[in-house]
């Protein structure tokens, strides 16, 4: 789960990482008031879950409260990569002597967190990794000991020469590690970490991605979730994984790998999937009902394809769900069903009684669904 810069900075501040003072605003007037209270020139920054907001004009300066209010009016409501800006962060403008990068992610290969530091700050770190990898310095963190002082010292030494600045950075690194580890982050990043002409080190930006699997033990962070539409929310609450796509064949599959393979197969046979949807392990007619509601709410969907390989998921549960959905929801598109595995025969009986049929083969099912989607009639 991603959270906004202003939320990440609140967490940073709680752990003692220096950030510029500021507050979030939802209206130009509010932004103006914050700027007045700060009593200094400010930066107004769009709060959207997407990168590249600077280039898109989502970061503007306001020397006076009036100017802050004005630029906030420009940023609020603007669209960045399809997302509407509903909030801006108003913070004091910081003089920058130099910029660097300090971040932590989980290294899937090493199977432990890795710190990254780079003197090339303020730019996309993935770009740095591609073009000048020698400018990125890494330190893996042992989960038993946490970040060790010598490691923090090493990272700090790669960013600044002055021992005083180094010790500020080392201290920030220790705090960033605590943020990462104690709040179950999958990424915690300061980019840029800046040095001011006065010799202070400050986190000018803040980015935190949370490990979804860790959220159950951080209720206060779960509460930060936003930007979900009602279907995504309904899916999550029912234990379904749903990702909307742009094609015409709605998919309802048990298992993430099979769901991806189903999408790929639709593409392989010349179609486009309308979504990824994994109904998960333990089947229930309710889940199927919710899944159908979500899939069919997408106006792009011209046909729905069920692909079920029964294991823990019982085919009869899915069949019952389909029959119920057809009764309870006004479904305007054709449904193609492939099912095999646990309780397959029972399922076929249930379907038969509702005048439905099912194939046992995935390829066949996909081809039928594509035909239906192209035909467009029920």
């Amino acid at each position: 789960m991603n959270i906004h810069e202003y939320q990440a900075k609140e967490i940073f501040a709680r752990y003692g990482i220096p950030v510029p003072p500021g507050k979030v605003a939802a209206s130009p007037a509010e932004a103006g008031k914050i700027a007045r209270d700060l009593g200094k020139p400010v930066v107004v920054k769009a709060q959207v879950h997407v990168g590249g907001r600077g280039k898109a004009g989502g970061i503007k300066f306001g020397k006076t409260p009036e100017e802050a209010e004005k630029v906030a009016g420009q940023v609020l409501g603007m669209s960045i990569k399809g997302l509407t800006v509903k909030k801006v962060l108003v913070t004091t403008s910081v003089e920058v002597a130099s910029e660097s990068y300090l971040g932590l992610v989980t290294d899937r290969k090493a199977k432990r967190p890795v710190f990254m530091a780079s003197p090339a700050g303020g730019v996309d770190i993935e770009e740095v990794a591609r073009t000048t990898p020698e400018k990125i310095f890494k330190m893996h963190v042992d989960p038993c000991t946490g970040l060790l002082p010598y490691q923090a010292r090493f990272l700090a030494g790669r960013l600044e020469k002055d021992p005083k600045l180094q010790s500020q950075i080392a201290s920030i690194a220790h705090k960033l590690w605590k943020v990462f580890w104690e709040t179950d982050c999958s990424l915690a990043e300061i980019n840029p970490l800046v040095k001011t002409p006065q010799g202070e080190v400050i986190a000018l930006d803040a980015k935190i991605n949370l490990d979804d699997n860790g959220l159950f033990r951080h209720a206060e962070l779960e509460a930060l979730r936003e930007g979900e539409n009602e279907h995504e929310k309904a899916a999550r609450e029912m234990g379904l994984s749903y990702v909307k796509l742009d094609g015409s064949v709605g998919c309802c599959v048990n298992g993430a790998g099979l769901a991806m393979a189903t999408m790929d197969l639709i593409k392989h046979y010349g179609g486009e999937p309308a979504n990824f949807l994994d109904i998960g392990g333990s089947s229930s007619p309710d889940k199927v009902l919710t899944a159908m509601r979500i899939i069919c709410s997408d106006p792009g969907v011209k046909a729905v394809f069920f692909n079920i390989f029964g294991g823990i998921t019982r085919c009869d549960d899915v069949a019952s769900g389909i029959v119920r959905a057809l009764k309870e929801i006004n479904i305007k598109v054709p449904i193609v069903i492939r099912l095999t595995g646990t309780n397959e025969e029972k399922a076929r009986e249930i379907l038969r009684s509702a005048n439905l049929t099912a194939t046992a083969l995935m390829d066949e099912g996909v081809r039928q669904a594509l035909q239906m989607a192209k035909g467009g009639v029920n």
Binding site: A256, L258, A261, G281, M362
Partner: protein, 289 residues
């Protein structure tokens, strides 16, 4: 032979008295797996699906000499269950549970390496050596004994492939689902080493998916170390970047972890790549001739 589990594997079911635990314990027993004990705190001294239940894994292991365990435990307690099994001296723990925080898996992995033991999973269907032993939740009837080793990050997609193999007359030595989380106890390379060393395994099917670089590393490893034919498949060619496709580990981020890269790596290493799942059995058959 086969890998990791066979007729000699003696299994403890952690959380046996739960709904899932008892159901799967029974299907494992029905399949012939030596389920020697269950462990549920507070239920010591009782019996479940014909198996004695102990309060702790330590007691269960000491009483039965079990060498493996499988944990049917909710995500908030699953990491603790794995630690308990390792601390009790269990050498192989299969962790089915989805939703364990990554930081907990990191700690388990570190302990696993220092003890020299093994976890399969988390977030996986488990492992089966057809005709010998099943430690997992996969539908047993689709498997048949034979010479193809199957390793996969997925669950149902593996069933799809195994079902096909069986129908094509290609039995399996061992099928292992290594799990869909970003950090897992046993990865492709670990499994490939075992398949290479197993005389019963004559060909290997490797089913990858988007996210991470496990497939790329496996490809390198296959090129230099594996002397058996390998058929590969990668799910998620149509997955958009930045979105988690169900599995916590199935996400293309920062331009890495794409299916295209993985397929390219497979091809570069001389692995026969199936474009769609239904091609897999044909490729295996042709390579095993």
């Amino acid at each position: 032979m086969s890998i990791l589990v066979d007729e000699k594997t003696k299994v403890i079911v952690q959380g046996i008295t739960g709904r899932d635990g008892s159901f799967h314990a029974k299907t494992m027993i029905d399949y012939g797996t030596k389920v020697v004990a269950g462990a549920t705190p507070g239920k010591g001294g009782t019996e479940c699906v014909g198996v004695p239940v102990f309060d702790s894994v330590r007691e269960a292991r000491e009483a039965t000499g079990a060498n493996a365990s499988i944990a049917y435990v909710p995500y908030s307690f699953a990491a603790d269950a794995v630690h308990e099994a390792f601390d009790a001296g269990v050498e192989l723990v299969v962790c089915i549970t989805e939703g364990i925080p990554t930081s907990e898996v990191v700690k388990i992995y570190s302990k696993m390496k220092s003890l020299g033991v093994r976890m399969i999973g988390p977030n996986c269907p488990g492992i089966i050596s057809p005709g010998k032993c099943k430690v997992g939740i996969m539908p047993a009837q689709i498997h048949t004994r034979g010479n193809v080793g199957v390793v996969s990050r997925s669950g149902t997609l593996t069933y799809e492939v195994v079902n096909q193999l069986t129908k094509a007359g290609l039995g399996q030595s061992t099928c292992i689902g290594i799990g869909g989380d970003p950090i897992i106890g046993t990865n492709f390379i670990d499994t490939l080493k075992l398949f290479q060393a197993d005389p019963e395994t004559k060909a290997i099917v490797l089913i990858g998916e988007i996210g991470g670089t496990d497939e790329e590393e496996a490809a390198e490893f296959i090129k230099s170390e594996i002397r058996k034919p390998v058929v590969g498949f990668v799910a998620g060619q149509t997955a958009p970047p930045g979105k988690r496709m169900g599995h916590a580990g199935a996400i293309v981020s920062g331009g890495t972890g794409t299916a295209a890269e993985k397929i390219a790596a497979f091809k570069k290493s001389g692995i026969a790549v199936a474009d769609i799942p239904s091609q897999i059995s044909g490729l295996v058959a042709s390579l095993m001739k």
